[in-house]
């Protein structure tokens, strides 16, 4: 919740009520410093704007209904200049300055000192997330970003194909991903938890189905997660997992997907090394369950039309179950 004045909280509550209960992608329930500043800015502008709108309605009503003496005050060029020039110039100047203050506050956050780099690349229609540690070692993940709470984090945003826009409303405003450029977005999570983000720049076909999650953790949890995530896939000795793993390799899945610690080293699609531990599948289109894996492998063109993965109708039901079990076991 915002640290802003009481009415901010009251207004937010009302809106959340209006908008239903879930708010993991809502700018009204900020969980980051940038989003909080913008939320306060929003409420100040909304209330001021509401008052101005009421003012215009009252003046119009006076002009239409009131008696001559009251009306005569409105019927001169002096009124026009006062209400149409002096008033807006004053209000807008103040707003402009306030806007710059918020803008600078967002841009001037110092980079985090743990030396970790976060590089996110938008691809039709998923997110490639690459972490570089202080020594320059890197590993990949997809459709999920983990960050430590309380530290400004610099996200380097790029694209592999068309324009995309990285947007997590609860943390900060959005920033576009543009070919040939690297845009840097600084976010500072203020509380632990999972936020949902979504591509905000139309990127063709399945633009609507290009979402992701951001997991804000305590610095200790984040370090632990980094240590585990950068390692190879965990091997499960359970029968279906072994069969599924073999099936994965035999069916050529490794041509596009990488699972570190196995021969699968494809770079076209998302890295699946720890896919079972993520919050969702297919860029936050499906829940992360074994059934969803099976459903996705066989019907992905129906679930997310035009996505670059061909539908695999070649598997029997039990093969699908093995594959799904294996992928789900990649914790």
């Amino acid at each position: 919740m915002s640290k802003g004045p009481l009415w901010t909280m009251a207004g937010t509550g009302l809106l959340v009520l209006l908008a239903g209960c879930n708010s993991e992608q809502s700018a009204f329930t900020p969980a980051g410093a940038e989003a909080e500043r913008i939320n306060i800015l929003f409420w100040i502008m909304t209330i001021a704007g509401g008052l101005i709108l009421v003012g215009v309605i009252v003046l119009s009503a006076v002009a239409i209904h009131a008696g001559e003496t009251l009306r005569s005050r409105l019927s001169s060029e002096r009124f026009i200049i006062g209400a149409g020039l002096v008033f807006p110039v004053t209000v807008l100047s103040m707003l402009l300055v306030y806007g710059f203050v918020v803008l600078r506050a967002g841009a001037s956050a110092p980079p985090s000192d743990n030396g970790i780099r976060f590089v996110i690349s938008g691809e039709q229609w998923w997110w490639r997330v690459t972490y570089f540690d202080a020594d320059g070692n890197s590993f990949e993940s997809a459709n999920e970003l983990h960050i430590p709470v309380g530290q400004p984090v610099r996200l380097e945003l790029t694209t592999a194909d068309v324009l995309h826009s990285f947007w997590v409303p609860r943390l900060a405003g959005k920033l576009d991903m543009i070919p040939g450029r690297t845009n840097v977005l600084t976010i500072t999570a203020t509380e632990e938890g999972v936020s949902r983000g979504q591509c905000a720049e139309y990127c063709g076909g399945a633009h609507a189905l290009m979402s992701f999650h951001v997991v804000a953790q305590t610095p200790e949890d984040f370090e632990a997660w980094m240590a585990k995530e950068s390692g190879p896939a965990v091997r499960s000795e359970a029968g279906p997992a072994v069969r599924g793993g073999q099936l994965f390799l035999d069916s050529g899945c490794g041509g596009c997907h990488a699972i570190r610690g196995t021969p699968a080293a494809g770079v076209i699609g998302p890295d699946l090394t720890h896919v079972g531990s993520r919050h969702s599948l297919a860029a936050a289109t499906l829940p992360n369950t074994a059934e969803a894996f099976a459903h996705w492998i066989a019907n992905n063109q129906h679930i997310k039309p035009e996505n670059k993965m061909p539908p695999y109708n070649i598997f029997t039901r039990s093969e699908l179950e093995d594959l799904a079990f294996y992928l789900e076991s990649l914790q």
């Binding site: 009204f28 009131a66 026009i80 209400a83 807008l92 405003g173 979504q198 139309y202 039309p305």
Partner: protein, 844 residues
């Protein structure tokens, strides 16, 4: 016996047969020949009707989208169709409805408001309208066979490049819409010359109706804004068709170049749509209040300021692209500043209402105007909100923006438009529209609109991005979307009620109630196919209020030009500022030529889209032939001086800066110059992005100095030849071989200059598809080449006129136009040479 005041320009009663002659000359062709009509009321009605059709069609698409979004995880439309539909909805609303309909209102209302018999180039507006109708219908129909573009109405590359958008869907946008933009420019030239030169005597700029001011600024904005998007369209189509990499980062191009060019057009576009609507409101409110507009001068200044500011705002569509903070600050301030002129207008309207002498009349037009005021102010306030950069970071590309832009455009333009329909219908309809149905239409539209769009502010900030065909149910957007969908259908019902009203009550023709609202401006003078019987002498801003007998006097032909002294269509041309009568313009009547030109031009562009190159080029040639036949009938011979009344004798032929043709040509040159300046911007912009591909480091070294010098020599030499030809124009009825010889030689030099420039680069091994630099180098030659192509045709046309003894020392408009275009092309070519050959040497 009636008394005729002696001080009026003409004496009554007017001779018998005079009125009948006017009616005969201005008669609208009957039957299928209606297609050839050029009268502004006929084609204006057609124009508005077509725009309304597109409004309804694009509205139906909106309802389909709202149905798809009514519930989460819906499969009503599907992904691909939804993407096509939102693209066509936006494109149709912006390019086929909003701009055309305000241009249509200009065509329809301006001659009436200015008591001119017609706009100065009647066939040009008819051409623009037919081109728009044919092109628009074909473009829209692509949605029915899965051919519609799906890159959004903004068509951002790289998504719209062949790699990500194979197939001709995107080409339909680029060629179809690009061509309709040309039609918009034709209309803009017409409107500028019309407003500046066909005002009635005495109507100085300071006495001009606000709508004329708004249309003047509107048209000027089109002249400067549209070329940017035309250039962008050309660049993108060249990259799609031939791989010239203007927008591909890997070859030194930049996707953001498109956004700069598109929004340099796209933001003024919003005000292009809004200003005329605001102008109409400024016309209607004084009538409702029965008192002159308070703050006329302030409103004029506000309109001009809006037009001016609107060119400094385009980057606010790009706040989230990662541009530097200083640019953000500048464009944020400019975006807020543009709210001020709107504020001035709003409070001028309130002040005018407050000044009313009698009760404020609540009629259907005034309901729509009050609805406009509410919606537009709300949209303006959210506009200020998104001008604040950090807030835009959140709101950009979400449903908050969908809400904001519909508040501004529907509130700012559609509501005034419906007010206009109810207010001005009596001008062209025998019956007024129904007050009862009109009220139903208003309340349904007003309630429906707010129900549909107000919740979207909340939906957007709750995290829903734009242009998504589906959304999951667990994010709290479902109820808001359902409410929006319900509102959309309520609003559509309102539009349906309006259409029922139109069907029941709109009857094209004369004889409706005369001045039903007791308005003060000239369009409510009694009028017929010839516009007003005589052209009044105007002494104030509200002549019908200040000269109570004016309607009667005008009807009886007691003012200027009550007849047709040259025996053809004509109107009085007055001076730009003071509106002093200068000459009588002879105007062309109905014709098949402009219609054929429109059909073949549309066919040429659309067939190019589907790569039927041979037939397309044939149609292109036929279009040019049609234009030549059309132009052959223009530039009519001098009829000597004629008497228009009040002791004023005016010439019937005019050349040089006083002629309407010179004005149109100069405006066309401004269009060309805007296009070229957009090009220069693009060249320099790409250099700042990718200096590494520029010559001499990243590309073959420039050709030696001899090439550009030779090219420059040819251009200057040709210009001198044209100047020489001008001095040697033969006397009337004579033929001189020297002039055509000079023109042919000049045309050859022009072609040679372009050829030499291209040859120079080809010989250095520069390949246009190599990188952004090489593509830009050849693009300069493309732009000069297309101007040269038009110039050469015009030179040939002038030679033909000379041979037919239709051109001489006196009757020389054709020659003047050819010469102006020649000099313009040469000047542009020289600037291009300086840029292409000078800039890399300067920085290298």
């Amino acid at each position: 016996m009636q008394q005729y005041p002696a001080e009026l320009p003409n004496k009554g009663p007017r001779p018998k047969g005079e009125l009948e002659e006017l009616e005969r000359i201005w008669a609208t062709p009957k039957g299928f020949r209606m297609l050839t009509a050029v009268n502004n009321t006929v084609i204006g009605t057609l124009y508005i009707g077509a725009a309304l059709l597109f409004f309804v069609l694009a509205g139906i698409l909106a309802l389909l989208m709202r149905t798809q979004l009514a519930v989460p995880d819906n499969n009503f439309l599907g992904q691909d169709l939804y993407n096509q539909i939102f693209t066509v909805h936006g494109t149709t609303m912006m390019f086929l409805f909003a701009v055309p309909v305000v241009e249509a209102l200009g065509v329809m209302l301006l001659p009436q408001m200015l008591a001119a018999r017609d706009l100065p180039f009647p066939r040009l507006s008819a051409f623009a309208i037919w081109a728009y109708i044919i092109g628009g219908l074909v473009f829209f129909s692509t949605i029915f066979y899965d051919m519609a573009p799906k890159g959004g109405w903004f068509m951002y590359p790289p998504l719209t490049l062949t790699e990500y958008s194979p197939g001709s869907n995107a080409d339909f946008w680029l060629l179809g819409i690009g061509f309709i933009e040309i039609s918009a420019i034709a209309g803009a030239i017409e409107i500028i010359v019309g407003v500046l030169r066909t005002r009635p005597p005495g109507m100085t700029l300071a006495k001009m109706p606000i709508f004329a001011w708004a249309m003047l600024i509107f048209a000027a904005m089109i002249v400067f804004a549209f070329p940017a998007v035309i250039l962008a369209t050309m660049l993108l189509e060249l990259e799609r068709a031939f791989g010239w990499p203007f927008f591909t980062a890997a070859s030194g191009g930049d996707a953001l170049l498109w956004q700069h060019l598109f929004w340099f057009f796209g933001h003024p576009e919003v005000y292009i749509i809004f200003l005329p609507a605001a102008g109409l409101v400024s016309m209607m409110i004084p009538v409702m209040a029965q008192t002159p507009l308070v703050g006329y001068r302030l409103i004029v200044v506000a309109l001009i300021a809006t037009g001016f500011f609107s060119f400094g705002l385009w980057v606010h569509h790009m706040f989230t692209t990662g541009i530097p903070g200083l640019s953000l600050a500048f464009f944020s301030a400019a975006s807020m500043a543009v709210a001020i002129p709107s504020g001035i207008q709003v409070f001028s309207w309130i002040a005018t209402i407050a000044t009313r002498k009698s009760r404020f009349r609540v009629t259907v037009p005034s309901l729509f105007v009050m609805g406009f005021l509410f919606i537009f102010v709300l949209g303006g306030l959210t506009g200020v909100m998104v001008a604040v950069v950090p807030f835009d970071f959140q709101a950009h590309d979400t449903y908050f923006i969908v809400a904001h832009l519909h508040y501004v455009l529907v509130g700012g333009m559609v509501f005034p438009l419906f007010a206009t329909f109810y207010f001005w219908a009596p001008m062209v309809s025998r019956k007024m529209l129904s007050e009862r149905l009109g009220r139903w239409a208003f309340w349904l539209m007003f309630i429906g609109f707010n129900t549909a769009f107000f919740p979207m502010h909340i939906t957007g900030l709750s995290g829903m991005p734009r242009r998504v065909w589906t959304y999951p149910g667990y994010l709290g957007w479902d109820m808001l979307n359902l409410i929006s969908t319900a509102g959309a259908f309520i609003m559509a019902t309102g539009v349906l009620v309006f259409i029922i009203d139109l069907v029941r009550n709109f009857r094209f023709g004369r004889g409706g109630p005369e001045n039903p609202w007791n308005a003060g401006t000239l369009e409510f003078l009694p009028n017929d196919v010839y516009s007003t019987r005589s052209i009044p002498h105007v002494t104030s801003r509200d002549p019908l209020w200040d000269q109570p007998d004016l309607a009667q006097q005008v009807r009886e032909g007691l003012h200027y030009l009550p007849n047709a002294p040259t025996g053809g269509r004509e109107t009085v041309i007055t001076s730009v500022i003071e509106a002093k009568p200068q000459y009588v313009i002879q105007m062309p009547g109905p014709s098949w030529t402009h219609l054929a030109a429109a059909v073949f031009t549309a066919a040429c562009f659309l067939l190019l889209t589907v790569k039927a190159v041979a037939i397309a080029l044939t149609c292109g040639v036929l279009a040019i032939v049609s234009c030549i036949v059309w132009a052959w009938q223009l530039d009519r011979p001098d009829q000597g001086e004629v008497d228009i009344g009040g002791g004023i004798r005016l010439p019937t032929y005019m050349t040089g800066p006083m002629s309407h043709s010179w004005w149109a040509m100069v405006i066309l040159m401004l269009v060309g110059a805007s296009l070229f300046i957009s090009y220069v911007f693009s060249y320099l912009y790409l250099w700042t992005v990718s200096p590494e591909v520029w010559a001499p480091g990243g590309s073959p070294a420039l050709p030696p100095w001899t090439y550009p010098l030779g090219s420059a020599l040819l251009l200057t030499g040709g210009s001198a030849l044209v100047y020489w030809a001008e001095k040697r124009l033969p006397a009337a009825g004579r033929f001189s071989l020297l002039v055509p010889a000079l023109l042919v030689l000049a045309a050859a030099l022009l072609a040679g200059a372009v050829g030499l420039e291209v040859l120079g680069h080809v010989r250095t091994g520069l390949d246009p598809s190599a990188n952004a630099y090489s593509a830009m180098v050849y693009m300069a030659a493309v732009l000069t080449g297309q101007a040269a192509f038009a110039t050469i045709i015009l030179c040939a046309f002038a030679c033909g006129r000379l041979a037919a003894k239709r051109m001489d020392r006196e009757r020389r408009i054709t020659f003047d136009n050819a010469a102006l275009l020649y000099w313009y092309t040469a000047a542009q070519g020289l600037c291009g040479l300086v840029l292409i050959h000078g800039f890399p040497r300067l920085i290298g």
